[in-house]
């Protein structure tokens, strides 16, 4: 399975989710998880852990999210979307196989991890809406990123990255 395959699958899944589940921003990730029969567990882990995906034989797939106060809500949402990506991209692997994907702030470099990040970004911030909000908020360019981030339920960092990825021009990062 090559890079391109993972990337295109990630895009397809995000597109399908918006098409079939009548989603609205901020995306209700619990609704998606429930449709996929995923069990979500929020627990406190050390800060080096964002979350992980676990699939054991005869158990429903489980996503564990670090609910520690050091992980903001937006960060948890992105991690959850990323883990849902793991579930979808691994769907062809037999249910009798054990699967374990651990996500830490440092390990997002592999092809699969990048594809899951891509899925998360597209699911949480679909292109059409990003472009629409971006245009709508043109008059408020100073607060545009923060407002959009709030609408999508993501961090301003993730929002900035997505906007840049779509080739839209924003003001350089400024610390408030």
């Amino acid at each position: 399975m090559n890079n391109l395959h993972f990337e295109s699958e990630a895009e397809l899944f995000a597109y399908k989710a918006w098409r079939t589940l009548s989603l609205e921003p901020p995306v209700n990730l619990d609704k998606i998880a429930s449709k996929l029969n995923l069990v979500i567990e929020y627990r406190e882990f050390i800060p080096e852990i964002d979350g992980f995906y676990l699939r054991l034989p005869n158990c429903p797939p489980v996503i564990a999210i670090n609910a520690s106060y050091v992980k903001p809500q937006e960060r948890r949402r992105f991690t959850l979307a990323h883990e849902i990506g793991h579930h979808l991209l691994a769907r062809r692997i037999s249910n009798s196989e054990r699967l374990f994907f651990l996500d830490t702030p440092r390990n997002r470099r592999t092809v699969l991890e990048r594809a899951c990040d891509r899925f998360a970004a597209l699911l949480l911030m679909p292109e059409e809406l990003v472009r629409r909000y971006f245009q709508e908020l043109e008059a408020n360019s100073k607060n545009r990123v923060a407002i959009m981030a709030s609408r999508f339920g993501v961090s301003t960092w993730a929002m900035r990255r997505r906007i840049k990825e779509l080739g839209l021009t924003i003001q350089p990062w400024q610390r408030s």
Partner: protein, 119 residues
């Protein structure tokens, strides 16, 4: 003698002592020569096939434990879930021991919660 593993030799020696088995006795049950059992107890690393054969002859031996001790990758299908995750976490040097323990506790919890329940 080929590759040597102190850990592997220790496990073989320990197994034979616990079960009061001589090299000859082990050879009779496994079809692997007494001389070879002696070499293994001194740390000689056998082939993967030999490990599979001795584990088939002595079911109380954990094939993956022996494979790991001998420097072979474990067989994931035959590994307990907690051990499999523990093994996967060995490749995560950035995660402190405390975090690894938290994850393993969670895996045990999930395993116990659904034990006996079939999809």
């Amino acid at each position: 003698m080929g590759r040597v593993s102190f850990e592997f030799g220790h496990r073989i020696k320990d197994f034979l002592q616990r079960n009061k088995l001589t090299f000859r006795g082990a050879a009779l049950q496994s079809g692997i020569s007494a001389a070879y059992w002696k070499d293994m107890s001194d740390g000689r690393v056998p082939s993967e096939e030999v490990i599979a054969r001795i584990c088939a002859a002595f079911p109380e031996l954990d094939e993956n434990e022996l494979r790991l001790a001998a420097g072979y990758a474990p067989k994931p299908h035959e590994m307990d879930a907690v051990k499999a995750v523990e093994f996967a976490l060995r490749g995560q040097p950035d995660i402190p021991e405390e975090g690894k323990q938290q994850i393993l506790e969670f895996v045990k919890l999930v395993q116990n919660r659904y034990a006996g329940k079939k999809d």
